[in-house]
């Protein structure tokens, strides 16, 4: 996999998310699409397991570092990074059963991966809220909103599939099927 291309695309996707996420949100809630999750799912569909997991960890970490909270401007590194890793791991385990180049695959897997990631994020912050009052946190409200946000992310995944799939040659993914018969193209 070409890491330079991936990092460039990830930076653009995160920039896009930062700029438009609040505008696409339903009212003033956390029900908003994630553009980073479909990218993580896309990489997990085509890249080697190790590359996919590093990608998920780095993109999630970037989101953590760009999400300050509370009056102390606190950065909590980990919830999104590990949440995205869980999402990517799920995709890695089921990708052999999927029609990987179908846009609907990216859409459905984005929804499920997003749900898994958000459950972990909510769990971490809810546990933190038990011993720290550095920022206000309402676990149940956030869980409900983020599950709806995951459905919204599915739409973003469907739209992004039409941009990402034509870019597959650019990413230089290693296709595991190429070595199935001991020969490479």
């Amino acid at each position: 996999m070409r890491w330079t291309i991936l990092l460039l695309v990830a930076a653009v996707v995160l920039g896009l998310q930062q700029a438009v996420q609040a505008s696409l949100a339903v009212g003033q809630t956390s029900i908003a699409p994630s553009f980073a999750i479909p990218l993580v799912v896309f990489v997990a569909l085509f890249a080697s397991p190790m590359s996919a997991m590093w990608t998920a960890l780095l993109i999630g970490l970037a989101i953590d570092l760009a999400s300050p909270r509370g009056t102390g401007d606190l950065i909590v590194a980990g919830p999104n990074a590990l949440g995205y890793l869980i999402g990517a791991y799920f995709v890695l385990t089921v990708r052999a059963l999927m029609y990987r180049r179908n846009p609907l695959t990216l859409m459905v897997l984005s929804i499920i991966a997003c749900m898994l990631a958000e459950v972990f994020v909510v769990a971490v912050h809810s546990i933190r809220a038990m011993y720290s009052d550095a920022y206000a946190w309402s676990g149940l409200t956030q869980l409900g909103q983020r599950m709806l946000g995951a459905l919204y992310t599915g739409i973003a995944g469907l739209v992004m599939s039409f941009v990402l799939f034509p870019m597959i040659p650019l990413f230089g993914f290693h296709d595991p099927r190429e070595r199935r018969f001991g020969a490479r193209k």
């Binding site: 956390s30 190790m50 960890l57 300050p68 009056t71 606190l74 590194a77 546990i127 920022y135 206000a136």
Partner: protein, 310 residues
Amino acid sequence: MPRSRWINPRIGLTAAIAALGVLSFAPPGAAGWVGAFRGPVRTVLAPIAAPFALLLGLVLREESIAASGPAQEALTQRDGYLREVNQLRAENDDLRRVIADLQHGLDLNPNIPVRQFTAAVIGSSLDLSSMMLSVRAGTREGVEPSASVAVVRGVHLVGRVVGSPSPRTCSVLPFTDRSAGSINGVVMLDATRFGPACRLEPQGDGTLTGRLRSEAVLLPTGASSAAIDSASGGGDAQAGVKPGMVVRLADDSWPQSAQMLELGVVESVETPAQDIRIRTLVVRPKYRVERVSEVTLRVPAVRSSNGAQP
């Protein structure tokens, strides 16, 4: 050989997972150093997000239309004058009190002068559960945490600077964020008449809810709020606090220069069935403060030794 055995992506990933697992649950005091890595991420994302935000601004012209045109300018000017009138009136009351206090031999702090300048919002939190804004102004411009507040359109409060500002950037926590905590305000019965005071709690959906104070309280500006009975015209609830009335900041924990800034307008007033003496209200800011693209920062102006402003 031993080097390649211990340094490889698999072991690196395991170590990273373990480290992030610890950091996820580390208390704020132990994980504060992680904030140092926020700067590089912001530096990379801000210039990429800016063109998208610009494009979005062209598509969603709602805010930009509201910001332009002579009618809007006149409204902004009117809001500014109204705030000045209210603050001057409150200062007048305060000065009367100061004179009375001085006559009693009390030593009082002089008013803190304020410097205003506009600054671009270069980013918001990637996690929408936090409404934090990153603003392109820092300690070089004199920004100080807690003492500096951000407003939009001159008089509408956005929030205040939190954390440790860097030389070039700072973080503004909107007062509508649940983490910002409760805030005291006063309902304006008309342009210049103080109504009852209220304590408002941000709900996280952009609104603030709270109870109207039934008794008259001394506001930080020195003036007094109205008692709820006098505000309702001697028991006539219809003549009291109504939807559409402006609520202004009157909170000791905020800088003196920020007092009387506009929090929002009353969206609804209700009397809970269980206690008819209590009146609750919902306040909504006129602007979505977490979506502004530019703010005016009000920072304390440092006095030189002879008392002249820089």
